[in-house]
């Protein structure tokens, strides 16, 4: 089984710490991630129109290239890449006419798209392939006393056909937190949208969403959040700046990519550069818990 890694646009920039920590963690777990060659942006959002195949091309082109490079599975870290690649694949493969047309469009590629490479999210690899038991064995610095809310957002659980867990009541991320020795806290807003790309045109909306989501987490006893989506991470972390300005009583909360906490728990060194990519400084909390 050959695993390829698809980074996507933000993993090389704003979410570099997500990629770094994931790479290190997977190396340590004996399943190093091999970045596929010649990838392009997946298109970020999946287009839900039935009549415009052009909007599916970016995703399909990536999958075609992964196929040609011999990958059985393409792993993503970003929830949005996972969602978009996987839905584009299902959409095109579901209709022979669509399949024929996209292949027509991509005449310059070396081969035809057949849909043989599966799209998998890293969380599924951790749970099903490596197993949480195995990870637990490798924990050297348990996240003791750290209460963490897993923020799933939309893209890991909807549409329900590609949800990585129960779409109304997922537990995979809380289980992972527990595996790392922390306490996975279920909070009511963990499946509610952060406002996504509205952050560009309707900043107010995302600020209010952030306010509600972070408060929901705090009320449930969370001290920090984890996520796997760089857009959620931006809205929930960076937008806490505006949230604090608008709501004076608001108290901030660090937001991590789940792999950052894995790195810490598995005894890897906390990289000081990662801090720069956080808006809410996570260091005091990590220090308080004796994790760095």
């Amino acid at each position: 089984m050959k695993l390829g890694y698809f980074p996507g646009c933000t993993l090389k920039t704003n979410a570099k710490h997500f990629e770094d920590s994931a790479m290190q963690v997977m190396e340590l777990l004996g399943q190093p991630l091999e970045e596929m060659e010649n990838w392009i942006c997946c298109g970020t959002v999946f287009s839900m129109t039935t009549d415009d195949l052009m909007l599916q091309l970016a995703s399909i082109r990536n999958l075609l290239r992964a196929e040609n490079q011999g990958y059985d599975e393409l792993v993503t870290l970003c929830s949005m890449c996972y969602n978009t690649l996987k839905r584009a694949k299902e959409f095109i493969l579901n209709d022979e006419e669509n399949l024929r047309k996209v292949n027509d469009f991509m005449y310059r590629e070396e081969a035809k798209f057949k849909g043989t490479t599966d799209v998998v999210h890293l969380l599924s690899i951790l749970k099903d392939r490596i197993t949480f038991d195995e990870i637990k064995n490798k924990v050297t610095k348990p996240l003791t006393d750290l209460k963490i809310g897993a923020y799933y957002g939309c893209l890991l659980v909807r549409p329900k056909e590609l949800a990585i867990d129960d779409f109304e009541d997922p537990t995979i991320m809380e289980e992972l937190v527990d595996t790392l020795g922390g306490e996975g806290v279920v909070f009511p807003y963990r499946l509610e949208c952060c406002g996504a790309y509205q952050t560009v045109t309707e900043k107010d909306v995302t600020v209010k969403r952030t306010y509600e989501i972070i408060n929901s987490a705090r009320n449930a006893g969370c001290e920090a959040l984890i996520t796997s989506c760089p857009l959620c991470a931006f809205n929930l972390d960076q937008r806490q700046k505006e949230t604090s300005e608008e709501f004076l009583e608001f108290s901030t909360m660090p937001v991590f990519y789940f792999t950052e906490l894995m790195a810490i728990a598995l005894g890897l060194k906390w990289n000081k550069d990662w801090k720069k990519l956080h808006y809410i400084n996570p260091v005091p909390l990590l220090k308080e818990k004796g994790l760095i």
């Binding site: 129960d166 109304e168 009541d169 009511p188 009320n219």
Partner: protein, 651 residues
């Protein structure tokens, strides 16, 4: 050759507008065998029937073809006409030129031609028809009622009051069903237990009723009027005749299990009485939860019982009974609430089901009828009811409307308001279905006078914040999203056929619909009969319905069963399979294909025999028989050949 009369019906314009009946009459006049032909506006009318009678008499006809509507509608009408004229009713054939011709075609030429072919096939079939006489069998004048809820109770009492014996089988330790769990009933708010317990007592005291509780029907063999029933009764560890209801055994029993009668809101012991008014009034030992019948394991209850009613050596029993009719009244269960995780049942103790709320409201319930919420025993001041929990959701849950929830939820809200005067009930609903006598008035009064607030929209999710349940919904009428900080949330669960009903259906091979509810023989005209002869349906086993409807249907089922029980003999259509003993090789292939168990190999003669009462004339055996020994009466291979030749010739 038979002298045949042909009678072509216009059915007003239904046939006449598409089929040229005048031309048909002329064209068929000289067809071999036709001794008389006419057409008429309504053959089924009284004058129409007189035409046929007159023609039979004047032309000395041997048989009649009526070209009209489907035989399901008027076959029996015209059979009666022949009988009155002194002919055997099986010398009558219907040529269906309405449903199978005029209604489905528009071209007059083609339709007329097709009608002609249909009539000719009927004439050819009639030529070889034998005169047949209905098959008869005796009737065991006793009924079996399966299920001891309100429907079963009503049906049993009606049959017993009419003077016939009834065997009642109930799975649980007491009869009473769901109705005994209810507090009050809508729309009159009379006490459910007060109106039900007299009927339960009547069952117990009735000389014509024999009651088996803790029992299940294991099998039913035989046929309409003549069923053999095997009933499995769980071991009677407590002898109901000796038990004096002193409660000493319960006091010493060390085991606590959730009380199912209280929907898990309180606990009971492993030896217990289900509720004070239980019928039969006796304690029951629940083997599944008992520490063990060996005195070494526990044995406390037997030690304590001064009446010596407890016998650990009791064993399960198989009881056999013979009955003529069976009434199925196996009731409902709530739709599994854990299938709706977004409503948080199981995670939050203050999200409860509608049946749990019935118990909280009930004077005999775990709170003595005072309204306290499960988590901390506080009186809820803001209470939210969520209708259509599981219902009307073909994508995830039940596609159908469970019918009773609108009214029981309103009843809940009213009863709540009567006890918590300063409390506020909210009802999330999609549509209010109040189509019953005094139901709409019940709704209107609640909205205008009792301060119950209806909010039109489906709840998206429920979660906990502090000690409140946050209910997120929508008021589609104002277009506003609604958030309520509730103290208690009641989910108005939809209903599904009971688990016992599923098991029984498998045992009895009774037809159900795709939801698992028992199928009626006809949705409008035979709503209380099963397609399987001798089985009658009552209550929610057939579909969601409230108490008045269940009781009416139970009485209806009883009346149908009484028709059967009050006959000395039952009659059955003679259009059934027969066996040509000279041709039958005894291979018994047909025995396996018969869905009714009507065929059996006679081990002595090595020839298959047909049970004429069981045979439904479906024809499965005839197509399976490799030697042509199996034939359907009045639908023989020769008759079918002749009919095919007409169709194939196209003339």
């Amino acid at each position: 050759m038979k002298k045949i009369g042909v009678f072509i019906c216009h059915c007003g314009i239904n046939i006449k507008d598409t089929v040229d009946v005048e031309r048909l009459t002329i064209e068929l006049e000289n067809y071999p065998g036709v001794a008389y032909i006419e057409n008429y506006m309504f053959m089924c009318s009284d004058p129409g029937q007189n035409h046929i009678q007159d023609a039979i008499r004047e032309n000395k006809l041997d048989g009649v073809v009526v070209a009209a509507c489907s035989p399901t509608l008027h076959e029996s009408t015209f059979q009666a006409v022949l009988k009155e004229s002194g002919l055997n009713e099986y010398q009558m054939e219907i040529a269906n030129i309405r449903e199978q011709c005029s209604w489905v075609h528009t071209d007059i030429e083609q339709a007329t031609h097709k009608a002609k072919l249909i009539i000719k096939t009927a004439i050819e079939k009639l030529k070889l028809n034998e005169s047949l006489y209905p098959v008869s069998a005796p009737v065991t004048k006793k009924a079996l009622v399966i299920g001891g809820g309100i429907s079963g109770i009503q049906a049993a009492l009606d049959i017993a009051d009419a003077g016939f014996e009834v065997i009642m089988v109930e799975k649980k330790p007491s009869i009473g069903g769901h109705m005994i769990q209810l507090s009050e009933t809508f729309p009159t708010l009379d006490c459910s237990q007060c109106i039900l317990t007299p009927k339960m007592v009547a069952i117990n005291k009735h000389k014509n009723i024999k009651l088996y509780v803790n029992s299940e029907v294991e099998s039913i063999d035989g046929y309409i009027g003549n069923f053999n029933v095997k009933i499995k009764q769980k071991a009677l560890y407590v002898d109901p005749h000796k038990c004096n209801l002193c409660d000493d055994c319960t006091e010493v029993c060390p085991v606590l299990v959730p009380n199912e009668q209280e929907e898990g809101l309180s606990w009971r012991k492993a030896i217990y009485i289900p509720f004070p008014q239980a019928i039969p009034a006796t304690y029951t030992l629940d083997l599944e939860n008992c520490l063990g019948l060996e005195p070494i394991a526990c044995g406390k209850c037997r030690e304590k019982c001064t009446a010596e009613a407890i016998n650990y050596d009791a064993a399960d029993m198989i009881i056999e009974e013979e009955v003529g009719a069976v009434i199925i009244a196996t009731g409902f269960d709530l739709y599994p609430v854990e299938n709706i995780p977004e409503y948080g049942y199981g995670k939050y103790p203050d999200v409860i089901t509608s049946l749990q709320f019935e118990r909280i409201l009930s004077a005999t319930g775990p709170t003595g009828g005072e309204i306290y919420r499960p988590s901390d025993g506080k009186v809820p001041k803001e209470i939210v009811f969520v209708q259509c929990s599981g219902s009307r959701d073909p994508e995830h849950h039940l596609s159908y409307c469970s019918k009773i929830c609108c009214m029981y939820t309103l009843k809940h809200a009213k009863l709540y308001k009567h006890k918590v005067h300063n409390g506020q009930p909210y009802i999330f609903y999609i549509d209010i279905r109040a189509g019953g006598k005094l139901y709409e008035e019940f709704v209107q009064q609640a909205v205008s006078e009792e301060g119950i607030l209806y909010i039109r929209g489906k709840v998206a999710k429920i979660y906990k914040e502090g000690d409140k349940m946050i209910v997120v919904g929508m008021d589609t009428l104002s277009g506003k999203k609604i958030e309520i900080k509730a103290d208690l949330v009641v989910l108005a669960m939809g209903i599904v056929p009971s688990e016992g009903s599923h098991d029984l259906v498998k045992t009895l091979k009774i037809n159900t619909d795709d939801k698992g509810f028992l199928s009626e023989a006809h949705p409008k005209l035979r709503p209380v009969e099963s397609l399987q002869a001798g089985f009658y349906l009552a209550g929610t086993s057939q579909g969601p319905r409230d108490i008045p409807d269940s009781v009416s249907q139970a009485s209806g089922a009883a009346a149908k069963a009484l028709i059967l029980l009050s006959s000395d003999k039952i009659y059955h259509s003679p259009i059934i399979a027969s066996v040509d003993e000279d041709l039958c090789s005894g291979c018994a292939i047909c025995v396996g294909t018969c869905p009714y168990g009507a065929r059996e190999l006679n081990e002595v003669s090595k020839v298959v025999e047909v049970n004429e009462i069981l045979c439904e004339g479906c024809g499965a055996c005839i197509s399976a028989c490799p030697s042509g020994a199996a034939q359907q009466k009045n639908l023989t291979d020769d008759q079918i050949d002749n009919m095919i030749q007409i169709i194939a010739s196209g003339k």
